[in-house]
């Protein structure tokens, strides 16, 4: 499959576009102090698809996600070894600024976390202003575009000056998605983005993920296996055995992982026996 696609590429420009949003994880291990949370994980995330990370609590799936945009190291005493290639650049390479990595790889958290002192508009514009956009017209346009992409525009267009925290939980989460999208990242990481939401809000977030993969590479951590089956194209199953830090057990197309798992432990987990 890789071969046939490569053959269709005719220009450097096209090759670049095809590679944009590719994430390659190579031999990644992560620690919190002395506690090993992740052991030697390698996987290739396909661009413009939804990849789900599943596994029981403590298997390291959130840690893996946070390693992809260097948010892991924000925690005191957290360390990493191995490589994460964003296209061809190792985000852990020497001289790579975590700040520049995070501008290319956006993130949405489990609990909706809009900036409490900012309005809806300012929340979405925060990243753009940081990047130096001051022009009011440009900001207005980008804010609207991001809110539309997050399927929130119609609900908030008349109250952009209201505080972001005044919205409902589901709306707040879509606001956080809009905030992440406004800076036009290549990859969007979502850490159990719907687990704090009610079923209706959850359904909207799931629809959104499917929409977003047209333009972005989406990696989502989820506890909810139905959700993984519904929204993702690829699924990675992680497991932590003997407390040795989570390792990748199986990775493949979602349908294959759920219907014809190659590993017995995957079968046990997806059928609810683990």
């Amino acid at each position: 499959m890789q071969m046939t696609r490569d053959l269709r590429i005719v220009s450097v420009q096209e090759w670049r576009e095809a590679a944009e949003g590719t994430v390659s994880v190579r031999g990644l291990s992560a620690w919190y102090g002395r506690h090993r949370a992740l052991t030697d994980v390698s996987l290739e995330v396909r661009p413009r698809s939804v990849t789900a990370l599943i596994g029981p609590s403590g298997c390291g799936k959130s840690t893996l996600l946070r390693c992809l945009n260097r948010m892991h190291e924000v925690v005191l005493g957290a360390t990493v070894s191995g490589q994460v290639l964003l296209e061809d650049e190792d985000v852990y390479g020497s001289g790579v600024d975590p700040v520049s990595v995070r501008r290319r790889v956006g993130m949405v958290f489990q609990q909706p976390n809009p900036f409490p002192t900012m309005s809806i508009y300012d929340n979405v514009a925060a990243g753009l202003r940081l990047a130096g956009t001051r022009n009011r017209g440009v900001l207005d346009g980008k804010v609207e575009q991001a809110l539309r992409q997050a399927a929130l525009w119609d609900e908030v267009k008349d109250k952009l000056r209201k505080p972001g925290t005044a919205l409902s939980g589901g709306q707040q989460q879509r606001l956080c998605i809009a905030r992440a999208l406004a800076v036009d990242p290549e990859v969007l990481l979502m850490d159990e983005p719907a687990s704090a939401l009610d079923p209706v809000a959850t359904a909207r977030i799931e629809e959104l993920m499917v929409e977003l993969k047209r333009d972005y590479t989406v990696v989502v951590v989820t506890h909810n296996m139905q959700q993984a089956a519904r929204v993702s194209d690829y699924t990675a199953f992680l497991l932590s055995e003997d407390g040795g830090g989570g390792a990748l057990v199986e990775y493949g197309e979602t349908r294959q992982v759920f219907e014809e798992p190659r590993d017995e432990r995957t079968r046990d987990y997806v059928t609810g026996r683990l």
Partner: protein, 278 residues
């Protein structure tokens, strides 16, 4: 059986009334002091009190306008010095100082500084600024008050910054904000009311301080705004007038006490209101 029950009930009532009495004793002094100051001081409060200089020894009339202005200037100098330093120290303690050796050390020393008798702080500034410049000054007084205020602001800022959910800070970092910018644009505004509360409590703490001003700001019987010259202040004026021999001075001292008390009370109420409206 019955007697055991009765004994317990009696003991319970006895303890309850003891606790109630202790609680009363705890608030009686405040009420007594406040009532006494109002009774004695209210008569001295008029427009002249805020606009006139103290009258010459023994003469009636006059006011404490220069001391009111002096106290404001001293508090302003102290706040201008201690607020930026204290807020930045508090941020360091709450964020960057975690997991370092310096952080806990600074926290410990700041608690120690908070416990240093204020007259010792005054003595230190006397040696540092008054002896070296050869003159008492408003600046020296402001520095002394600032040193006293510093640990209050640093520790309340630390608490306020720690109150900001880590998810908010993480959201800012994940958006690609550098740490200093995440702190300035997101963490600090979120912690703002807590920090303001700390500054107000610091101001309340220093505005009644007398000892550290005695040999720094010294006192002044005339109008002065010059930071390099001695300056009058309410607490020192109270001290001088209350220990003086004249009845008119005593009345003025009570008036100044009332003004000072009202000021501190208002500041405390403002701090309470701010910390509740968070």
């Amino acid at each position: 059986m019955i007697s055991t029950y009765r004994r317990r009930k009696l003991a319970n009532m006895l303890m309850l009334s003891l606790l109630g009495a202790a609680a009363l004793v705890a608030v009686v002094p405040l009420i007594a002091v406040a009532a006494y100051v109002v009774l004695e001081g209210a008569g001295a409060i008029n427009l002249d009190f805020f606009t006139q200089l103290p009258s010459p020894a023994g003469e009636a009339g006059g006011g404490m306008g220069n001391a009111v202005v002096g106290t404001l200037e001293l508090v302003a100098i102290a706040s201008a010095l201690a607020t930026p330093t204290g807020v930045m120290a508090g941020i360091y303690l709450a964020q960057q100082g975690r997991g370092t050796r310096l952080g806990p050390l600074v926290r410990l020393l700041s608690d120690v500084l908070n416990g240093v008798p204020t007259i010792v702080v005054g003595l230190f500034v006397y040696g540092l600024l008054v002896l070296t410049t050869g003159s008492f000054s408003a600046l020296a007084g402001g520095v002394a008050l600032g040193v006293i205020m510093l640990p209050v602001i640093a520790r309340t800022t630390e608490e306020a910054v720690l109150q900001v959910p880590s998810s908010v800070r993480e959201a800012a970092l994940a958006l690609g904000l550098p740490e200093w910018r995440a702190t300035l644009r997101v963490v600090l505004p979120t912690a703002r009311s807590g920090i303001l509360t700390g500054v107000i409590l610091g101001v309340a703490r220093i505005s009644g301080e007398t000892a550290p001003l005695l040999f720094t700001a010294f006192g002044n019987s005339f109008w002065s705004l010059d930071p390099t010259k001695p300056i009058a202040s309410l607490p020192v004026q109270i001290y001088n007038f209350a220990t003086g021999p004249y009845e008119s001075w005593h009345r003025q001292a009570w008036g100044a006490a009332l003004v000072l008390m009202t000021m501190v009370l208002a500041l405390n109420l403002a701090a309470r209101w701010l910390s509740r409206s968070r």
